[in-house]
Amino acid sequence: MINKQVHDFDSALAGLADGATIMVSGFGAAGAPHDLLEAALDRGIRDLTIISNNAGEGDRGLVRLMTERRIRKVVCSFPNSSNAEIVKELYSAGKLELEIVPQGTLSERIRAAGAGIGGFYTRTSVGTPLAEGKESRILDGEEYVFEKPLRADFAFVKGRLADRWGNLTYNKSARNFGPSMAMAGDITVAQVDEVVEIGDIDPEQVITPGIFVDRVIAVR
C-alpha cells in the first residue's frame, strides 16, 4: 500500500543533512512551507543552499534560518524584502552567497531538472550582467543564453489538499513554484492544510500528481 502521509517532522525530514540543497516554494509568504523550514531549523540543520524565489520575508521560515546563520547560499530572483533586513545585513557582511536568476529562468531551470532536460536556450538576460560567463547562441536570428537545469536534494512545497498517494492541490496564487519544484527534488515533501481520503480529489483537479511527491504532512 502506498501511504506517503507522515505524522511528524522527523519522518518528514528523514535524510535531510547539513550541506543539503533545498528548494522552497512560495512567492513571498504565499505558498511558503514555513513549518518544514522551521522543523529543519529545530533539528540543527546547517550549511544549506536554498533555491527559492525570495530569500525570506516576514519573520518565519527562511528568515529564521537566515537569522540563525544556517544558510550558506541562496539561488533566487529577488532577495530583497521590505521586512527582512537580515538578507541585506548578511550579504553586505559577505556572509551570504547569492546567485541571482531571472524569475522565469529560475522556474524554467527547475522544471527542466524535473523533466529531464539537459539545458535550454532563453532570450531572457541576453546582453545583461546575468548572462556573463554563459554560453550564448544565435537561433533563428535571435540571440539566446544557455541555461542549465536546477535540481535539489529536497523540495519543500506547500499545498492545500493531499491524499496518501501524494496528489496535491494548491490554493489560488499560492500555487506558484510548488508544481515545478515538486518535480525537481530528489525527495519532495509537501506541507498541506489537510490530507483527504484517496479518491476525494477530482482527478481533473490534481495539480501535482503523486508521482512527484514523496512525503505529505498535514499542518494546521
Binding site: I100, T128, P129, S173
Partner: protein, 226 residues
Amino acid sequence: MTGLTRPQIAWRIAQDIPDGAYVNLGIGAPELVANFLPEDREIVIHSENGILGMGPTPPEGEEDFDLINAGKKPVTLLPGGAYFHHTDSFAMIRGGHIDFCVLGAFQVAQNGDLANWATLDNSRPPGVGGAMDLAVGADRVLVMTDHCTRDGAPKLLDRCTYPLTGLGVVTRVYTDLAVIDIENDRFVVREVAAGIDRDALQAATGAELHFAEDCRAIETAPAAGT
C-alpha cells in the same frame, strides 16, 4: 518644472491599452495603471505569480494572503480569471503571449535599452524578479518613470550606465513631462506635459530629442491628478 502626477501618468498609459489586451503591470507605480483602465474595455491583467484576470484590492478585512499580486499585496480575481503555476506563468511572458507590460526604470536609452533592476551601489543585494523576462517577452514594453531622478539627473539617456535589464526592448516611455516613442534608436517626443517647453524638456534629457510633427499636449483626465 511640474509635470504630471503619477496618477496622471498612469491614466495616460491606461488610454493606450486596447480592449482585449493582456497586460502585466510591474511592481510599484505601474500598478496604478489598473485604476484607470477605461471601463468600456475588457483588459486582462496578468500577474507573474500565476494569475490572469487580476482584479482590484479587496475591501479591508476580506484579504486572502494566498491571493496576492507580484508586489505581494492582496488582490482579487475577476470572473474569467485563472490560476496556474509559475513556469506556466512565465511561459506566457517568455513565449510572447503578453501584449503589454508597464515597467518602472532607473534608465532608458534611446536605443530602447532598459535598466531597472540594479544600480552601481553594491551594498544592497540586487534583485531582478521577472523584469528581464518581461523585457524580452512582452510584445510592447512601456516604461513609466519620472523624467529625472530625485537629484535631477536625467533618466532618458543616449546609453544606460546601470546594468541592463534588456537590450532594445522599450517601445514607449511615459514620464511626468512627456510621452516618448523609441523609433530607430531615437527618442521621438509625441506629447509634452502642459506648461513644459521643448528646451526645458531637452535640458532634462540625456540624449537628443526629436519632436514628432504632430507633437501635442499630454491629455489628462478631468478627474485624475489627485
